[in-house]
Symmetry: D3
Subunit: 247 residues, 6 copies
C-alpha cells in the first residue's frame, strides 16, 4: 500500500532550512518538513534567572506554540483562553530538554538562550521539525555569542541534534508522518538523536493499540536513519554564509 504522497516508507519529506528569517533574534530559522512550517528563533539575554545567578552556568529554555491559522480547522488562541494547553506544555518541555542535551551550560556562561518555535503551518511532525530547526537557530545564536565574546568557553555545543517522527500506518513502519498518516497511526514515535547516532529522547506511544518490541526496533532503525539525513541537511545549511548582516 503506497503512501498518499508517493514517498517510500523510509523517505523524509522535502526539508528546507532558511537561516536569518527574522532580524532581531540572534538565531532565526524557518524550517519546513513538507507542508509543516515552523519559525524557530533563539534569542539571547545577558544573565540568567534569579535561581541560577552566581552559579556560572547559563540557561536555555524553549516555548512551542501554534498560530491559530496553522491548522486545517482554526484553533483557539491560547492567550485568549488564558491558559497553555497540555500538549503545548509537553512539547515546549521536550524542545528545551532536547536542546539542553547539546549545550554545555558552563561553557555558555551566565547567558540565557530563549528558543521560540512557532508553527506557521501544521501538517504533522511539528515538534520534530521544531527541534531540527531550533538546533540550527541555536547554532547561529552561539556563533553570535562567540562573535560578541560573551561565552565562557568558545565551544559550548557538544553535538548537534535532529528529530523525526516515525509510526506504524497501514501495518507498515513509516518515517516522517504527515497529518493524514499521523491521525490514523497505530503507533507514533518521536526520536531525537545526535550527529553521532546516540539518543536524546525516545517517545513511543500506542494509539489505542500496543506494539511489540520488534516494532519498536524497526521504528528506531528508521528514525535513526532519518535523523542522520537531517543532520546532513543541518550541516549544509550552516555551511552557508549568514544571510545579510548578523543581528
Amino acid at each position: 500500500m503506497a503512501r498518499s504522497d508517493g514517498r517510500a516508507d523510509d523517505e523524509l519529506r522535502e526539508v528546507s532550512i532558511t537561516r536569518g528569517f527574522q532580524q532581531h533574534p540572534a538565531g532565526s530559522v524557518l524550517v519546513s518538513f513538507g507542508q509543516t512550517t515552523v519559525l524557530c528563533a533563539a534569542s539571547v539575554t545577558e544573565g540568567v534567572p534569579r535561581w541560577r545567578q552566581g552559579s556560572g552556568l547559563g540557561w536555555l529554555t524553549a516555548e512551542y506554540a501554534m498560530l491559530p491559522s496553522a491548522t486545517h480547522t482554526r484553533g483557539d488562541r491560547e492567550s485568549v483562553k488564558g491558559r497553555v494547553g497540555g500538549r503545548t506544555h509537553e512539547i515546549s518541555r521536550l524542545v528545551g530538554r532536547a536542546l539542553r542535551a547539546a549545550i554545555d551550560l558552563r561553557a555558555l556562561g551566565e547567558n540565557t538562550i530563549q528558543v521560540d518555535c512557532d508553527v506557521l503551518q501544521a501538517d504533522g511532525g511539528t515538534r520534530t521539525a521544531a527541534i531540527t530547526g531550533a538546533y540550527v537557530a541555536l547554532a547561529d545564536a552561539v556563533t553570535w555569542l562567540r562573535a560578541h565574546k560573551r561565552l565562557a568557553d568558545p565551544q559550548p555545543l557538544s553535538c548537534s541534534i535532529a528529530a523525526v517522527s516515525v509510526g506504524v500506518v497501514d501495518g507498515r513502519v513509516r518515517l516522517d508522518l504527515p497529518y493524514e498518516e499521523d491521525s490514523r497511526a497505530e503507533v507514533d514515535m518521536n526520536v531525537v538523536a545526535t550527529d553521532t547516532g546516540t539518543l536524546v529522547e525516545v517517545q513511543g506511544t500506542g494509539e489505542g493499540a500496543t506494539y511489540t518490541r520488534a516494532t519498536l526496533d524497526a521504528m528506531l532503525d528508521s528514525a535513526l536513519a532519518g535523523c542522520a539525513q537531517l543532520t546532513e541537511l543541518q550541516v549544509a545549511a550552516l555551511a552557508e554564509p549568514y544571510p545579510g548582516e548578523l543581528p
Copy 2:
C-alpha cells in the same frame, strides 16, 4: 533633517503583499511594510456565534498578536502570562472594527470570518500593516465563499480598506513611521480609509505633548495620500491569479 532610511517625509516604506502564504485558511496574506512583517489569515466557519444565530447576519472578528521573537528585545508570550495585554486587546478590536466597515454582514450570510494577524517581525506600524494585509486576506476569503456558493449575496464587500501611520517626528509630519521614528514621535496617528477616501477610523495621540488642529490636518493629508497608494497595491495584488490551488 533627513529620515534615517532616506525616505521623503510623505513616502511609504517598500510594501509587499504575498497571497496564499498558508494552505488552510480561505485567505492568507504575508504583508510587509519595510521590516514590519505580518501574517494575516482569514478563516471561514459555517454558522455564527450563538447570540447571532437566526439573525441572517454573518460575523467577522479579529485577533492580533505578536510573536515573542518579533521585537528587538524578546517579549513575553501572552499565553504563558495567562492574559492578553491591553495593547493587544485594543489593536484586535481596531482590526475587527475596520474590516467590518468593509463588509455587509447580511450579504455574508450566517458565516463567520475569523481574521488572525500575527506579527512575525515588528518595526513600527504593525497595526496598519495588519489592517492593510487583512483586507486582502478577507477579499480572498470572500472569493472562496462565493466559489463555494455560501454567500447570501455575491458582493458583500462594499469598499476596500487600507491603513497607515503618520506622526510628527523632529518637528515634521512623516508618513509610515518605523520603530526608530515611532518611539520618539511627538504625535502619532493611525488612519484607516476606504478606496474612495472616506474615513473608517482616525486615532491621533499626543505622546507627552499636544498638537494643534493644523497639525491634525497636515497628518490627515499625508495619511490619506498614503492610503490611496496602499489601495493601488492591494488592487494590483488581487489582480494576480491565486497562487497554487484554492484551499
Copy 3:
C-alpha cells in the same frame, strides 16, 4: 429631528462636579454628565514602580471600570470572570495617556498617582466624563502633594484636560451622546483637548459606516467647543474651597 432629551445638537448635558466625595484619596471627584456618573479618585503613593526608580521621574497610571449595576442590564463582574475585558483595558489606557499629557513627570518627582475611574451609572460618554472628572481629582492630588512639600517642582500641571464625545446621529452632528444616541450613531468620536484648545487625543470611528473628512471637521468643531465649556466648569469647581478637611 429633535434630540430625545430636547437638547440642541451642540449642547452638553447637565454637568456636575463634586470634589472631596471620598475621604481617603488625595483627590476624589464625583462627576456627572446627565445620567452618567463616574467616581474619579487620584491616590498618591510615595515612590515609583521598580523600572522607574532613580530616574527622578514620577508616574501616573489609570484604571477604569464599571460597577455591574451601572448599566441597563447588569454586567458581569470582571474580577469574577478573572479577566479585564478589551473595552475596559482600552479606556484605562486612554485615561492614563490623556492625564499624562497634562503633567510634567519630572516636576512630579518620584511619586506615583494612581487614578481610578469607577462608573456608578452609565448613560453614554463614560470615558469622556471619566477624563473630565479625573483631571479635577488630579488637580486636587497635586495640591495635596504641594501642601505636603513632596513635589520636585511646584507646578507640575502644564495644562488642564477635558473630554467629550460627539457623533453623527440621525444624519446630524451631535455633542455628548447619551446611550440612546450612542447605540445607534453612525460615527462616534471622542476628543480630549487642553484648555488652550490643542488636541491630546482624537478617536473617530465609523460604526458600520464610513465618514467624510468634512464630517470629521464638523465633529471636531463641535467637540472643541464642548471641551471649552467643560474647561470652564472645571475651573469653577476648582475655584471653590476644598470641602471638609484635606485628606
Copy 4:
C-alpha cells in the same frame, strides 16, 4: 476609656439609607454607617440558572467588592489581579446567605435577584452595612417584581434582616466598630438578625486571643440591640415614597 468618636459603647454610628441611588437596578440603596459607605443594588433577571430551571424556585445571589479607592491605602483591583480574594469571596457568600434567609424562593418564582454590594468608602463594618442596605434594596426589588406581576406569591419576604459588628476593644464590649477600633479589637463578631430578634448568622472570632462564653453573651446582647435599631431605620426608610420614578 472613651471611644475616639465619643460614642457610648452600645451606640451605633450615624446611619443613613438613601433609596433609588441608581436608575437601572430594581433596588438601589446607598447606605452609610458613619464613614463607611456601600452602594447596594438588587438587579432582577427573568429566569434562573440552568441547574435550577423548572424547579419553580427563584434564586438570589450576592457579590461584594471594594473600590480600590475606598480604603486608607489604595487596594489593588481584583479584576486586574485576575482573581477574587478570600475575604471578598467570604463576604459575598455571607451576604447572599443572609438575604436568602429573608426570602421564600418559591414565592419569588423563577426570577433571579442579583445583589451587588460595592464599598465606596471603608471605615470598618462594611459587611454589616452591606447586609443592612442590601435588605432595603431587596425590598424595593420585590416591590418592583410585585408591580410587574412577576411574583409567584405576592409576599416572598418572610422577615427583614439587619447586621452589625460588635467587638472587644480596650477590654470593653463595643458596638459597630470603625476601622480604628476594628483593627485592634481582641474579639470581633458580626451578627445578622431578623426583625423578630432571631439569629441568621453569628460569626465571632478571637483575633490572636480567645474569649469566654460570658463575653460572647455580652456581645450578643449589644449586637441584638443594635440590629433592632437598624431594623427601625430600615422600616422608616421603606416608609418613604420611592424617590423619582420606579426603574
Copy 5:
C-alpha cells in the same frame, strides 16, 4: 427520632488521630471523624514572608482543599478550573486563624509554618476535623523546631485547639454532623475552642431558617462538651512516642 448511625445527640463519631503519616513535613497527621478523613501536614520553612522580615515574628498560614474523589459525586479539581472556590478560601482562612490563636508568633521566631489540610474523604465536618488534626500536626512541628533549636522561646503554644460542628436536625440539637445530617440541617454551627474552654471562633448559620438565642445556647453547650472530648483525644495521641524517626 434516632440518628441514622445510632449515636446519641451529644455523641461524637469515632475519632482517630494518626501521627507521622507522611515522611517529609515536620508534622503530619491523618485524622478521621467517622468517615471523614483529612490529611493535615505542618511544614516548616526558615524565614518569613517579605512583608514580615526583620519583625522577629514568625508566621503560620493554612490551606484547605478537597481531593476530587473525596465526595460522593466527584468534584472538579480547582487547579484545573484555575481558581480556588469561595468555600475553599473561607475554610483555609478559618483554619489559619484558629491555629494562630494557639501560637505565640514571637516565640516561634522568624520561621514559617505552612499547614495543609487535604480532605481524602468527606462525610461532613471536614473543617472541624481539619482544625482538630492540624493542631496535632502543629504540635509535632513545634517539637521538631524545638529539637532543632530554632524557636525564639521554647514554649510557643499557649493552648491547644479543637473544633466540632453542631446543628439542629429533625428539630434536635446534634453534635458532629455527618453529611446526611449536615445537608438537611436547619442550623449549622462550627465551634473552635481551647483546652480551657474559651472560644476561638463561633460560626452559626441558619440554612434557609433562623434560630433563637436559646438554640444558640444549646448548640454551644453541646459543642463545648464535644471539644473537651476532642482535646482529651489530642492529648492522648501526643502522649505516644513519635512513630518512626522524626523527619
Copy 6:
C-alpha cells in the same frame, strides 16, 4: 557500587496495593512503591462529554496531582497558583493515554471513567506507581459497572497495564528509581507495558547526557521484567474479595 537502599539493580522496591481505600469512587486504590504513595480513584459518571454524545463510545480521562506536603520541600498548590504546571499536565495525559490502551471504549458504553491520581508522598516514580495503581482502580470500576449492568459489553478490558521507571545511575542500569537516584540519573526512562509484554508507552530521556541504543535495550529488558512482576502483584491484589461493601 551498591544502591543506597541495598536493592539489586533489577529489583523493585516493596510494592503495596490497597483496594477500597475510599468509600465513594467505584475504584479506589492506595499504591506504594517504597516511600512513594499515590491514591488512585476511578469515578464513574453516566454519559460522556458533549463532543462524544451519541457515538456509543465511552470515555476515560485522568488527572494527576501532588499534595503540597508530598515532597521533601513543600510545593506550591497549583489551585492557588491558578494554573496547572507543565509536568502535571504531561503526566495527566500519560496516565489517561496508558489506561485507554487497556479499555475498549465501545464495550464501556456511554459512561465516563474519571481517574484521579493524587500523590500523598513522593519519592521518585510517582507516575509509574500512579499508572500501576490506577489500573487496579479501573478494574474495580469496571467490576462495579458490570454489577450495575451499565456496560455495553461485559469485558471492556483487553489487557492489564503496569508501569515502572528505569535509568542509568552511577553508570549502571537500575530499576524503579527512588528520588535520590532519579535526581542524579544520566538517563531516565518510563515504560508502560501490558500483561503480554507488549509496549504501551516508552519515554526515555537523556538528562544532560545522551545514550546509546545498547543502553536503551538494556533499560527495556529491565523495565519489562519489572512490569511483569508488577502485573503479578496486580493480579494477586484483584484476586482478593473487595474490602467492605462495594460503593
